[in-house]
Subunit: 256 residues, 2 copies
DNA sequence: TCTTGACTATGACGTTACGTCATGGCATAA
DNA sequence: TTATGCCATGACGTAACGTCATAGTCAAGA
């Protein structure tokens, strides 16, 4: 059984142009051809198309898909991991752009409406201060004599009230995202991604945080009642869950 | 004071070609020109370039930057927020791709190691319960708000333990039959026949399952590690095989 | 003054994965 | 036979430049 190009396009939900293109770049050449030059696709062509579309849906460029589907000895596993790394990089870029855009918007707000800004946080004031001292504490308790603490002091001392507000909001979002994943296993990639975001959040806002430091911090979250309470009031058990997830995260980082 | 193109390029850390390009698209035309046609940039041009590069660093497309810097009445704030929204969307896409890639990698891992530990769960209570919640889950995840889910709930709630046992045995038989055909092509009529049986099985026992739903389900079997594992422990690669076979089945049904 | 090397100009092609015409041949049912 | 619909090839456009290729310009050293 063979199918004309329009049929195939309909079945696979791609355009005829796409199939023309795949033929032109020798990614998918139809097995048969009529006397008048019409393309005829066989079942095996459909299967290959499935494969191609699968990898396309994962965001692979066509050039790479070509080698993947045409070389049976190709290491798909390695390709997937390389692709994953590229995606992580892309995410980092987007995150950085988001932060930059947010800051710009914030700066515009500041310049334009600084006056009526004072009305805001009355009770918020306290929350911010609490938050500030909490992180300062966190660093001091563990690395009071180290460079990390000095770095934290140096960086945080320049933060404005708005900075703290933003940092707190980001942290809250990360914690909320983690709380939403508490029914997953701590090894789940989604969970690990949130851990990664927390790690990045520390690096961006406080001090260069090694995985060892992160592991240490996570231990404090379960062993120090004040931190435990802070996490558990978001969702009971979150402190422990954070701890476990971070441990896995650090173990995986070690291997690299 | 004016600067030649090379000087400007060095100062702003962009290429000469980039400035040529900006001139060509009328994003930044130098204010002066020598008799021999050399571009000469004034200080005001440099400032404009600064602006352009700033918005570029935020990821704005040049076409938009053009209106931003050339129209003083332009609402930068709104542009920034729209851009922020776009970035959030991009992040979501990247996150989704990451999850998909992770699941695929995980499924590959499982497929290679799962085979050794299959002979578990026979027909004990727990397996049945797991099975029941699994299908309930399956429906809820995709059509939690639709009629299909309600129908599934209504019908499955009346099933007895014996019903579940029968349903599971039927499903297991279908899966086993499919596993036995994995050396065939997915377009093979025998394979397609088994897909048809699976489709009927769904229709009889759970809810009216359109081909679109079936296609959606099959995608979940490969993208959700839990389902992938369930199929692959019958035979490694079965999840992917089911997926491909169902896709062909649905594509062929579309034609009708 | 002549040459040399650094700098500049324009033009054109390549990149990704197709969309969108434009033009014209082929197929099939009425 | 014709109307209608599907098919083919070719060409241009996309975003933001990189990378030649070819050729004119400028300042400095011999």
């Amino acid at each position: 059984m063979t199918y004309t190009i329009g049929k195939v396009a309909d079945m696979a939900h791609v355009s005829v142009r796409t199939l023309h293109y795949y033929d032109a770049i020798d990614l998918l050449n139809p097995s048969y051809e009529t006397a008048s030059g019409y393309r005829l696709y066989a079942d095996s062509d459909l299967e290959l198309l499935q494969q191609i579309l699968f990898f396309r849906s994962l965001g692979f460029p066509l050039a790479q898909i070509k080698t993947i589907v045409q070389d049976p000895a190709f290491d798909r596993r390695k390709a997937l991991e390389a692709h994953r790394t590229a995606l992580l990089e892309r995410r980092k870029v987007v995150e950085a752009l988001l932060v930059a855009v947010d800051h710009t918007i914030e700066a515009m707000d500041k310049g334009e409406t600084m006056d009526k800004k004072d009305m805001f946080d009355a009770f918020d004031e306290r929350a911010l201060e609490e938050h500030r001292t909490k992180y300062a504490d966190e660093a001091k308790q563990r690395w009071g004599t180290t460079d990390a603490y000095a770095e934290s002091q140096r960086r945080t001392s320049k933060y404005t009230k708005e900075d703290w507000k933003r940092i707190q909001q980001e942290a809250a979002q990360i914690d909320a995202d983690m709380a939403a994943l508490m029914d997953h296993k701590v090894t789940d990639p989604e969970v690990q991604d949130v851990v990664w975001r927390k790690h990045e959040h520390f690096n961006h806002n406080f001090y260069t945080c090694s995985v060892e430091m992160l592991a240490g911090l996570s231990e404090m979250w379960v062993s120090d009642a004040r931190f435990t309470a802070n996490y558990d009031k978001i969702k009971p058990g979150l402190a422990q869950f954070w701890h476990d997830a971070v441990q896995v995260y650090c173990m995986k980082s070690d291997r690299k």
